[in-house]
């Protein structure tokens, strides 16, 4: 995300909406995102669709800092967006997240 772009914080969900080591889908203005709650309790956000094919990552399995696509075993580190190997070859876009009270906000450009 460009440093010159102002971040627009958008309410994504409530803190209690996501279990630890899990993910939910968040759709906003025609785009889809995945919001994660890591085992250490921190929240993260990425694009919602796998970069390999049009599959919602929110239906996948979170294992530690890894999200696994539910269709083809494509794996990403959701804290960095980095693709971990075939069949995913392109990294995921990540977004800043902050907590305001009981609300999870995602920072969009």
């Amino acid at each position: 995300m460009s440093a010159t772009t102002a971040i627009r914080w958008v309410e994504a969900c409530a803190v209690e909406d996501i279990d630890a080591e899990d993910v939910i889908r968040f759709d906003h203005e025609g785009r889809t995102f995945a919001i994660y709650r890591a085992p250490d309790g921190r929240f993260h956000a990425t694009d919602g669709l796998c970069t390999h094919e049009r599959v919602h990552l929110a239906d996948g399995l979170v294992m530690g800092s890894i999200i696994e696509c539910p269709k083809h075993n494509g794996r990403f580190d959701y804290t960095t967006g980095r693709a971990k190997g075939a069949p995913v070859c392109v990294d995921l876009a990540t977004y800043p997240v902050r907590i305001d009270g009981d609300t999870v906000l995602i920072g969009l450009g």
Binding site: D22, H52, E53, L61, P70, H72, N73, R75, A86, C89
Partner: protein, 359 residues
């Protein structure tokens, strides 16, 4: 006599564009509804079941191979090599498959090690088949998109019979390995194997060739085929269950439908077959939720069976349907077995936006 309609099953022919135009490529497929918490539990990974099953598999390979070697030169070696061959040439099919999905083991490197070994056993180049199978799951039995349609219409009955000893499939595999060893791909493969992966294809093809040539040279040097009975030939003489199990997956069922309940079969099998096949007899379940490990498929089946067609009671019932269907498709390629959903099953998923009904 029905008019014969031959479709082009290649990925580079007119059916490929037609599938895209009809909204069948990379489409949304029907999934039985399962709450998120249950689905997470079903997808949860564990090393235990696959470690146990792999230890049994390798131990059985070792013991049967030992018996074959000990009794070599007598008829007593036959049953030992029969067992060794089935474990090597047939069970490797489910092992490459499950480990290729990355679900058999929790630990990624364990999946990768068994994947590489099993791929060699069944002569399926690991990178090529990883990508081919990825496409098979994206576009299951979509003509012009799926590179793994085992029984196109009309079916190649002679080819199926030859593959009881993997004669056709191995011939094709060897031709591909030879081409890949020269640093080239077939046009279909170039459609689904990204540039970044092709170096691996060429490197592994050369390794396969070196191993196979070394075994052949060893046989020539000692004047015996015994080394090849352990490495290479079991891919052929042990292949029968690849066909017996594999044809039940989709053969004779519908094409170009976005619902795995209509193009895949779940067939009940005994525990020995399920061990050999790593529960791939639950094939509707596997396709609908491919990230559920093989050892969880019976649970998944119990969870969704009321929303699926009645499973087949065994191989006998499955083949009572498959054989007549394939035989009829020789002359009538339009024929297929229409699976019946239970009356209370949820309806089919709506076709994707812009989809054009089949002609």
């Amino acid at each position: 006599m029905p008019t014969e309609i031959r479709r082009d099953y290649s990925l580079t022919g007119p059916e490929a564009d037609r599938a895209v135009a009809r909204g069948l490529a990379t489409a949304d497929w029907y999934q039985c509804p399962i709450p998120r918490k249950e689905m997470k539990a079903l997808m949860a990974r564990s090393d235990g079941p696959a470690l146990r099953d792999t230890a049994i598999w390798f131990a059985a390979l070792f013991l049967s191979g030992l018996g074959g070697w000990y009794f070599w030169g007598t008829w007593w070696c036959v049953p030992f090599f029969a067992v060794y061959g089935i474990l090597y040439g047939s069970s490797s099919d489910s092992r490459w498959h499950e480990c290729g999905h990355g679900t058999a083991f929790k630990t990624p490197w364990m999946n990768e090690v068994v994947y590489q070994i099993a791929c060699f056993m069944i002569l399926r180049e690991p990178t090529v088949w990883r990508w081919s199978h990825t496409r098979h799951h994206t576009d299951t039995i979509i003509v012009g998109r799926d590179p793994e349609i085992a029984a196109p219409r009309p079916p190649d009955i002679a080819g199926i019979l030859l593959n009881v000893f993997a004669l056709k499939s191995s011939w094709v595999a060897l031709k591909k390995i030879a081409l890949h060893a020269t640093g080239r791909l077939y046009p279909d493969e170039a459609l689904y194997i990204p540039e970044s992966e092709r170096g691996k294809v060429f490197r592994v093809a050369r390794i396969y060739l070196v191993i196979l040539i070394a075994v052949a040279a060893w046989c020539l040097a000692i004047g015996s085929i015994l080394p090849a009975m352990f490495i290479g030939l079991p891919t052929l003489y042990g292949a029968a269950f690849v066909v017996v199990f594999g044809l039940t997956q989709h053969a004779g069922l519908d094409e170009d439908v976005l619902d795995h309940r209509l193009n895949s079969r779940t067939v009940y099998m005994n525990p020995v077959f399920r061990f050999l096949y790593w529960n791939m007899n639950y094939h509707v379940e596997h396709h609908m939720f491919p990230m559920v490990p093989y050892h969880q498929l019976p649970k998944l089946h119990a969870r969704i069976k009321d929303d699926c067609p009645t499973p087949y009671s065994g191989l006998w019932e499955a083949y009572r349907e498959i054989i007549p269907a394939l035989w009829r498709q020789r002359k009538d390629p339009r024929f297929f077995v229409r699976r019946r959903l239970p009356g209370h099953a949820r309806p089919l998923g709506a076709p994707p936006a812009g989809a054009v009904p089949a002609e």
